[in-house]
């Protein structure tokens, strides 16, 4: 069996947990999450005509109460950088996190998710932001954990990327 570890990384409340919930059924409870700062789910996908079992690590956001455990990122085969499209600063924070964990994450495929795409009226990101991502050569995708838009395809794409790593 082929298994891949993937992580979700981003500011608190950008919708990481909601994205996973949208994608898989939960394995560990919310209380567990708050104690140790991570929630692990699994989901089988077919990527590049292979069955892959994704072990999804939902890292609890980085805030004043709990620091993000770098050790949780170790060995990940791919990761999501998650930002909240209605809060511009969350995108900046995501980039910052990536920089902070450079030592661990260097060379590992990732994808940027611009979540809460259903909240079009509060949307703060503009073409400039997207151009900037494009200029870095990053893959990004708008998602909505509420409507499910882009979620399934984002996970499938990340699974494919994990295969190439």
């Amino acid at each position: 069996m082929l298994q891949k570890k993937i992580c979700l990384l981003g500011s608190p409340a950008v919708g990481k947990t909601s994205l996973v919930a949208q994608y898989v059924h939960q394995v560990f409870s919310e209380t567990y999450l708050t104690t140790v700062g991570v929630k692990i789910d699994k989901k089988e996908v077919v990527a590049g005509d292979r069955k892959v079992l994704l072990l999804v690590w939902d890292l609890h956001g980085d805030d004043e109460f709990q620091r993000l455990q770098e050790s949780y990122l170790r060995g990940t085969h791919a990761y999501f950088l998650v930002a909240d499209g209605t809060r511009r600063d969350t995108l900046e924070h995501a980039l910052e996190l990536q920089q902070r964990f450079q030592a661990t994450l260097n060379g590992i495929p990732f994808m940027t998710l611009l979540n809460k795409a259903d909240l079009t009226r509060q949307w703060e990101l503009d073409q400039g932001n997207l151009d900037e991502l494009q200029a870095r050569g990053w893959e990004f995708q708008e998602t909505s954990a509420r409507t499910g838009k882009g979620v399934e395809s984002a996970f499938r794409r990340l699974a494919e990327m994990s295969l190439q790593s």
Partner: protein, 570 residues
């Protein structure tokens, strides 16, 4: 190749020639012909063709298989058919071919099944009857976990239920084994959880070398770390200190030794690690709680049960017999004259009888004895009454009348007392007085009862009648009888007197005077006096000897019996 037509024009001939040159170059026609013949021969000769195809076949099959599954599908049917035909014709070769595979597989399966079954039965048996067993049954019922499994869990000191081989870097599961009857959820997510806990604790409490053991609910998780991978075992019960860790380390070393390359290149594909199975299985150890052989207590229990059932049988049989005797006794009482049972039964294990009893009825205690019951174990309560059944009346009459031996009493219907036999006069008088007063007797019939005294009196009187004391005329001294006759007369007088006394009769004498011979009364009185003088004293004293003078007949002296108060003749 078609032969040239003879009718072809020279012009046409030229063109053909040119064409041939174009196609075949300027090789000599003979050589071409030879080449063609060789080719034809190769195609026609089956032997050569087979030889060539056989050389090309393996490569062709490999290539075809790599491209798609058409060949496999095509061959599949043929091979199936061939196998089928072969087995039908003679199954032996194929059976022999697959035997080395199937034999061990079957043996293993059977051994496993038997081992599991025997273990299950043994433990279930051992634990079925004990109080602890019952408690476990209750737990099994409450939790829905099969009883056999609860027995297994409770009778183990510890048991390694699952072994996880985990890739250190990614926390992904490399391989996993579990004890036979452990139900599995999702082993793939467990390694991530285990490593999160270890990292968390390691970071939070700076535990050196990571966490080696932690508890999750009822189980403990033990970890042993290697450079690339680590082992996590799930243990139910109290895990042994060093023994298990030794095994884990040994297994981990072997895995690193044999799978070093795969571990280094691990990209999430766990398939190569299936071969670590035997190493992981070496960690599936368990230790049973040392249990006193329960056979001892079981046999004690069986013995106790046996004794108890014997005792119970004895008690029940005895009780049954006792009841039967009791019922027999009650039936007997019911038919016994003079006894009427009003209430009977068993109170606090003791029998009791309440009822009415005639004083002349049979003794109930003696009856109880006849029925093998102990009278002292029975509570008696009798009210006295007079029974009117003939037997009882008869018995009462016999007791009250004290009938002599020669008397037979019999009570017939309607209270008629029939008296037969012989009795003295005094008893007959008592009968006449008392019998009508006895409860249950209304009439007495004693016509068949002989009065012995009356008979004696009669006999004596008859005997005496043959004696007549004769007096010579005008003489007062009577003519002498022989002394023998005199003695017999006296004896008769004695008897007569005795009987008369018994019957309350008195005697009186008669003196007859011969008037024609002018005999005077004074002569008669003299004669009377003489006679009396001849009688014994007691006869003289006890009788009212008043002479009655009669004038008819020859002068004589006779005696009569009479009631003392009436001077009438008997």
């Amino acid at each position: 190749m078609p032969r040239r037509s003879p009718t072809t024009t020279p012009n046409a001939q030229d063109e053909l020639e040119r064409l041939r040159e174009l196609i075949l170059g300027n090789a000599a026609p003979e050589r071409i012909q030879k080449e063609l013949d060789r080719l034809r021969a190769r195609l026609d000769d089956q032997g050569i063709r087979a030889e060539e195809i056989s050389r090309a076949l393996p490569a062709a099959i490999r290539r075809s298989t790599a491209r798609d599954e058409q060949l496999s599908q095509a061959l599949g049917q043929t091979i199936e058919g061939a196998l089928d035909a072969s087995v039908r014709r003679n199954p032996k070769p194929i059976a022999e071919a697959i035997f080395p595979i199937i034999g061990p597989a079957i043996r293993k399966a059977i051994a496993n099944a038997i081992r599991g079954m025997v273990q299950g039965i043994n433990q279930t048996l051992e634990h079925s009857l004990t109080p602890r067993g019952l408690r476990w049954r209750w737990e099994s019922w409450r939790t829905g976990v099969p009883f056999a499994q609860i027995v297994l869990l409770k009778s183990l000191v510890y048991r390694v239920e699952q072994v996880f081989l985990i890739h250190r870097e990614t926390s992904l599961l490399l391989h996993h084994v579990a004890a036979d009857d452990v139900r599995l959820g999702h082993p793939e997510a467990v390694p991530a959880m285990v490593s999160v806990i270890q990292d968390f604790v390691g970071d939070s409490f700076s535990e050196a070398g990571g966490l080696q053991q932690f508890e999750v609910g009822e189980v403990s998780v033990l970890t042993e770390h290697g450079p690339e991978a680590y082992l996590a075992v799930v243990v139910r019960g109290i895990p042994p200190a060093s023994h298990l860790r030794e095994r884990m380390n040994r297994a981990l070393e072997r895995v690193h030794l044999e799978f070093g390359a795969q571990l280094g290149n691990f990209q999430g594909d766990s398939d190569p690690f299936a071969d670590t199975e035997t190493h992981l299985e070496s960690c599936l150890v368990e230790e049973k709680r040392s249990q006193k052989p329960n056979w001892v207590s079981a046999s004690m229990l069986i013995l106790a049960l046996l004794l108890f059932s014997i005792w119970l049988t004895v008690v029940l049989v005895r009780d049954f017999q006792m009841k039967r005797r009791w019922n027999g006794f009650l039936d007997h009482l019911g038919t016994e004259p003079g006894i009427t049972v009003v209430e009977s039964g068993r109170r606090n294990g003791n029998f009791f009888v309440h009822g009415l009893k005639d004083p002349f009825a049979a003794d109930p205690q003696a009856l109880a004895g006849q029925h093998l019951l102990r009278p002292q174990n029975i509570q008696w309560q009798w009210e006295a009454y007079h029974a009117l059944t003939p037997t009882l009346v008869e018995r009462r009459a016999a007791a009250l009348l004290e009938a002599p031996d020669e008397v037979r009493l019999q009570v017939l219907e309607q209270g008629l007392l029939q008296v037969e036999g012989r009795a003295n006069h005094a008893w007959i008088r008592r009968l006449d007085l008392q019998a009508p007063l006895i409860p249950g007797i209304r009439k007495v019939n004693r016509t068949a009862l002989q009065d012995t005294d009356a008979m004696a009196l009669e006999q004596a009187a008859q005997d005496l009648e043959s004696y007549t004391w004769m007096f010579p005329p005008q003489a007062s001294a009577f003519a002498d009888l022989s002394s023998d006759a005199q003695n017999r007369w006296l004896e008769g007088m004695e008897r007569l007197h005795r009987a008369a006394v018994r019957m309350g009769l008195s005697m009186e004498g008669q003196v007859r005077i011969d008037r024609q011979a002018n005999e005077s009364e004074s002569l008669a009185t003299e004669r009377w006096q003489n006679l009396l003088a001849a009688l014994p004293a007691n006869l003289r004293r006890n009788s009212a000897w008043d002479p009655v003078f009669l004038t008819e007949g020859s002068p004589s002296l006779q005696f009569r019996l009479a009631w003392p108060n009436r001077h009438s003749q008997d």
